[in-house]
């Protein structure tokens, strides 16, 4: 089963647009990423630029409105993610426990929907969903 491990670094919501992690932090994280790969569980991973260089599109009143980052009211933002393929939720949690994260970081673990999770009518509505991902 696939899980997404979502990295939520405290303070990233207000980080400068050009904020970069230190070389040491990246080095430790690379070692961890290699462990994931050697265990055969790593499918994908990416890091995200801070939200100060991003934008939000909201739909109040049914009309899209664009706000440029940073977003003062937002307390938690994503810094990156891993997609892993493991045998159980407990295994996903155990991998997250091993991440060389700093004190202000949180990892959220979320299982990825499989087509077979959906009832038949939802599956029908989602027809072609897999194709989109090519």
């Amino acid at each position: 089963m696939r899980f997404m491990m979502l990295m939520i670094p405290g303070g990233y919501e207000s980080a400068a647009p050009d904020a970069m992690p230190s070389a040491e932090a990246v080095q430790a994280m690379m070692k961890y990423n290699e462990e994931l790969k050697k265990a055969g569980v790593l499918l994908a991973l990416d890091g995200l630029h801070p939200p100060s260089s991003g934008a939000r599109v909201s739909f109040k009143g049914g009309k899209p409105a664009v706000t440029d980052g940073p977003f003062p009211e937002v307390k938690e933002v994503l810094g990156g993610y891993w997609m892993i393929d493991v045998r159980s939720r407990a295994e996903a949690i155990e991998w997250a426990r091993r991440c060389p994260a700093s004190e202000n970081e949180v990892i959220e673990i979320r299982q990825v929907h499989e087509m077979s999770d959906f009832p038949e009518d939802v599956q029908k509505a989602a027809e072609g969903f897999n194709e989109l991902k090519g």
Binding site: K38, E94, M115, S116
Partner: protein, 430 residues
């Protein structure tokens, strides 16, 4: 069991899944005995099951388990060295084990890649029959328990237990060295490793009776094993080729059967039901593999064929000329009657049924196809396309008699019945 207890058990099992192969690999290097190493790993986990629910999971479970296993191994070795003079040579390893840095955490990463590779090469050694190799690999590298392996292969637990015991004994009796082979031997042994991984995958992939979920799990196990192999041997095109082949095959999982469980042939599948994330991973891996070698091996060639199907937006877009060429290369690299049958189909699609039939007809006296419904099925299909309806019908009937699968038999008889009536039979193409 309390809720906390349940959580702890799942957490400990997760640690076991992650740590078991590494621990088994390290201990086998010291003890030169897969069986003994595995026993000690089991002992260490039993101790964890006893102590962790009470004391909590240690901050570094790998270091904790390694320390416990190391102590147990030293105890065992001291005892056997005293009892049995034959174990004297092990004293050297014993000394190494004792000397080993007390800083377990630092030592954990050392050589672990080599140890893991050695463990894979040992568990998949050609001296063992295929069924023993698969059982031992799932046990040592997948961390699967005997009942899980038994359920996956639809055989009694006692059978699996016996296979594992025999495999461990055979490795010890044959004095198989715990090593990563080099040169020509490496290629041969790697072929055995890949064969085991592909066997495990196909055991989960080919639809037969049984509890479906666990067999699908076997595909996952094979994919994880092979992804792990690519991390350990990133320069082996055949390893990358096998992963790509399995990712591409697995991408079609949801489209392969209808609601009644009847198989849907590749060309009739609803391609929107394919898992396109897996397709993309398969194609990426294939590109990396092809950049590594000018002469693709059997798995890479099969992945290239699977990729031709994956790249076709509709079945009609399939590049059959390329597929026929890859089958020809495959027939040279790994000749087999099954490859020839597939080549007959591909050539028939690419260059016309008469050309395909010529290849199929050359297989008529092939002893390995006696009793298989594949050849008459393919001949029936090609004869139908040539308008030789009566001959085609006879071949479909023959194939229906030969298959052991009831769903397939029904499908073949339906095909025979759907052919035009005898009176309309003619030799002219439709």
């Amino acid at each position: 069991m309390t809720a906390t207890g349940t959580i702890e058990a799942a957490a400990i099992e997760a640690v076991w899944r992650i740590e078991q192969p590494k621990l088994a690999a390290r201990l086998t290097r010291y003890l030169r005995d897969v069986g003994l190493a595995e026993e000690i790993v089991q002992d260490a986990f039993l101790e964890a099951l006893e102590r962790w629910p009470r004391d909590g999971i240690p901050r570094n479970p790998a270091a904790w388990l390694t320390q416990v296993a190391k102590n147990r191994a030293l105890d065992r070795l001291r005892r056997t060295t005293l009892i049995d003079g034959k174990h004297r040579e092990l004293a050297i390893d014993l000394a190494e084990l004792e000397r080993e840095t007390p800083d377990i955490e630092a030592a954990l990463d050392e050589d672990i890649d080599d140890d893991l590779l050695r463990l894979i090469f040992t568990a998949c050694h050609p001296v063992l029959p295929a069924e023993q190799r698969t059982a031992l690999t799932l046990r040592l590298l997948g961390g699967l328990a005997t009942p899980e392996i038994a359920r996956a292969f639809l055989v009694p637990e006692a059978t699996v237990a016996q296979r594992i015991v025999r495999a461990k004994r055979a490795l010890r009796d044959a004095a198989i060295p715990f090593e990563t082979p080099r040169g020509a031997e490496r290629r041969e042994r790697l072929a055995a490793v890949l064969e085991v991984v592909y066997l495990i995958f196909n055991e989960g992939y080919v639809p037969t009776a049984g509890p479906d979920w666990l067999r699908a799990d076997l595909c996952g196990e094979a994919l994880r094993l092979s992804r792990s192999l690519t991390a350990l041997m990133p320069e082996e095109p055949e390893v990358l080729g096998l992963v790509a082949l399995m990712e591409l095959n697995a991408s079609r999982f949801a489209a392969r059967t209808d609601k009644a469980g009847d198989p849907i042939l590749l060309l009739d599948q609803d391609r929107s039901r394919w898992n396109w994330s897996l397709v993309r991973r398969g194609l990426d891996g294939l590109n990396r593999a092809m950049a590594l070698t000018p002469a693709p091996g059997p798995y890479l060639l099969q992945a290239m064929i699977a990729a031709c199907h994956a790249r076709a937006v509709t079945a009609a877009d399939t590049d059959w000329i390329a597929i026929a060429a890859y089958y020809q290369a495959l027939a040279l690299a790994a000749p087999s009657p099954i490859v020839e049958i597939n080549r007959a189909v591909a050539v028939g699609m690419a260059f016309g049924p008469a050309q395909g039939l010529a290849i199929a007809d050359a297989l008529k006296d092939e002893p390995r196809l006696k009793g298989s419904h594949l050849l008459p099925t393919v001949r029936g299909d090609l004869l139908e396309k040539l308008g030789q309806i009566a001959a085609a019908r006879a071949e479909f009937h023959r194939a229906a008699e030969m298959t052991g699968n009831a769903r397939e038999r029904a499908l073949l008889l339906a095909r025979a019945d759907s052919l035009p009536g005898k009176t309309r039979d003619s030799r002219s193409a439709p």
